[in-house]
Amino acid sequence: MEENINYIQVTNLDYEYPDGTQALKGINLEIGKGEFIALIGQNGSGKTTLSKCLNGLYKPTRGDIIVDGLNSKKSSIVQMVRRVGYVFQNPDHQLFNSNCWDEIAYGPHNIELTEPEVVERVEEALKVVGLPKIYHKEHPFFLSKGLRQRVAIASILALRPQVIIVDEPTTGQDMKQSLEIMDFLKALNEELGHTIIIITHDMPIVAKYAKRVIAMGQARVVADGATREVFAQSEVLKETFLAPPQITQLAQSVADLGFDPGTLTVEEIINQFNSLTN
């Protein structure tokens, strides 16, 4: 995979809503190709606003966002969404066509591709998300939430963005469904090289899938680093009203016995237990 740490470069970004609310303050970030990032933080901390800045929907009030060499302030929304796709928290807020095929074709049509190109992209996206053929002409609202989410992701994939931001991919899903969605995002990341950014409150999911964590609190980035390192900073997390997963909390509470305070999964803590008792 091509190493390109500066695929997205965010410099001194501020964003203010028209009513004066400061949603983002002094954000500096670099995001590369092929990263798997979890964006975490309290409700209202600026996660969704940041995402909408990254895909060009919102333009910075101050500071700059450069994506693939393009400054979001000087680029059209079409140029931006071809690079950074955003999948809404609630797929129902995004889906509006009367069948799945048209829903996925809407984006490619909108960026003025030719008809054969549109068909190619829709078919490719449907194949990647694995939506069974019987659903292709079905109204999205007759599908389960998990399938609707796949349609929502497919409609973004059809634009072939490098970066895919998925807002709360596991909300309302049970654990089995959550793991399916996450394994699918993992495959997009590992096999197709997409940069994946998930916005989530589910810390065990973060621990299992994300390589990097960006924690936000009160419109700022308060921690940014490898998942293990960020979860080890429980004091910083507490300030931003976050807590690491139970397993990490447990490992931290017995760190004096030799457990690693950055432990992320059940598998890891078992291995440590084995080496500490043998």
Partner: protein, 285 residues
């Protein structure tokens, strides 16, 4: 303690489906109990919840067998609206219950509907606003606030009605971990101070476990396990088999048990687990 809900040999099949959504359910809920219901999506949890406040069979077409009694009376025998004063439901999709143009009107709407006096409405409004931390949102339209805030409004609107039985269908799915903890703190307070009977459907078990007296597992429309919380999670192997995912702590001790490294009770909190690990490691050395 008296029984507030008694479900006997109860099955419900929606008119447009082939198989029953819930089948042969037997469940008794005591006054003041805090019950957690878990199970995969599609296992019948929400159908069961709707059956306890009369939404089923009242608002849905289907075939019912058996009985669902609330305060000793079958749900069908209540006059329209009477049962809903006793049983409040917070839906998993908060938008499904919003009707008003501001958060304040949303909270007041239900109270006006049951004919409370103006001073009483004001008093309850102040109480729920404080309890669910909504002071800054009262003037806003419910559709303009975030998903997490909507969930708090939905909960507050139901709390304001002070139902004796409170049913919450995934009340915290859109909330961050701390807001989630706050909602569970509110529930703990209600249980303690008002002796409310509380039934919570939840995928996220970490906050539920310390509060729940009893747990119920649904799978494919059947109630497959019901027990006191501590005893319930000792059957972790069975829970896995039925598609439940116990929290990380329990999974860890279950894995140790599977490898013959541990044979005690599974701990339910980080503090308990920490104590046990201390003992085990020190003994091992």
């Amino acid at each position: 303690m008296s029984e507030v809900i008694k479900i006997t040999d109860y099955s419900w099949k929606y008119i447009n489906t082939k198989t029953p959504a819930v089948e042969s359910i037997n469940l008794t809920v005591e006054e003041g109990a805090f019950i957690g219901i878990i199970g995969p999506n599609g296992s019948g949890k929400t159908t069961l919840a709707y059956s306890m406040d009369g939404l089923i069979p009242g608002q849905y077409n289907g075939i019912k067998k058996g009985t669902v009694e609330v305060f000793g009376k079958e749900v069908e025998e209540y006059d329209r609206g009477e049962l809903q004063k006793l049983v409040g439901v917070v839906f998993s999709d908060p938008e499904a219950q919003f009707t008003a143009m501001t958060v304040e009107d949303e909270l007041v709407f239900g109270m006006e509907n049951i004919g409370l006096s103006v001073p009483e409405i004001q008093e309850r409004l102040d109480w729920v606003t404080e309890l669910t931390d909504l002071k800054n949102l009262l003037e806003k339209p419910p559709y303009e606030i975030s998903g997490g805030q909507k969930q708090r409004v939905a909960l507050a609107a139901v709390l304001a009605m002070m139902p004796k039985i409170l049913i919450l269908d995934e009340p915290t799915s859109m909330l961050d971990p701390i807001s989630r903890m706050r909602i569970f703190d509110v529930l703990a307070k209600l249980k303690k101070e008002k002796n409310s009977t509380i039934i919570v459907i939840e995928h996220s078990l970490e906050n539920l476990i310390p509060l729940a007296d009893r747990m119920v597992m649904m799978s494919d429309g059947e109630l497959v396990l019901e027990d006191e919380t501590q005893a319930f999670f000792q059957k972790t192997g069975f829970l896995f088999e039925k598609g439940a995912f116990p929290p990380g702590l329990i999974q860890f001790f279950y894995e140790l048990n599977q490898r013959n490294l541990y044979n005690g009770d599974y701990p339910l909190t980080v503090a308990e687990a920490s104590l046990k690990l201390n003992e085990m490691i020190k003994k091992g050395k």
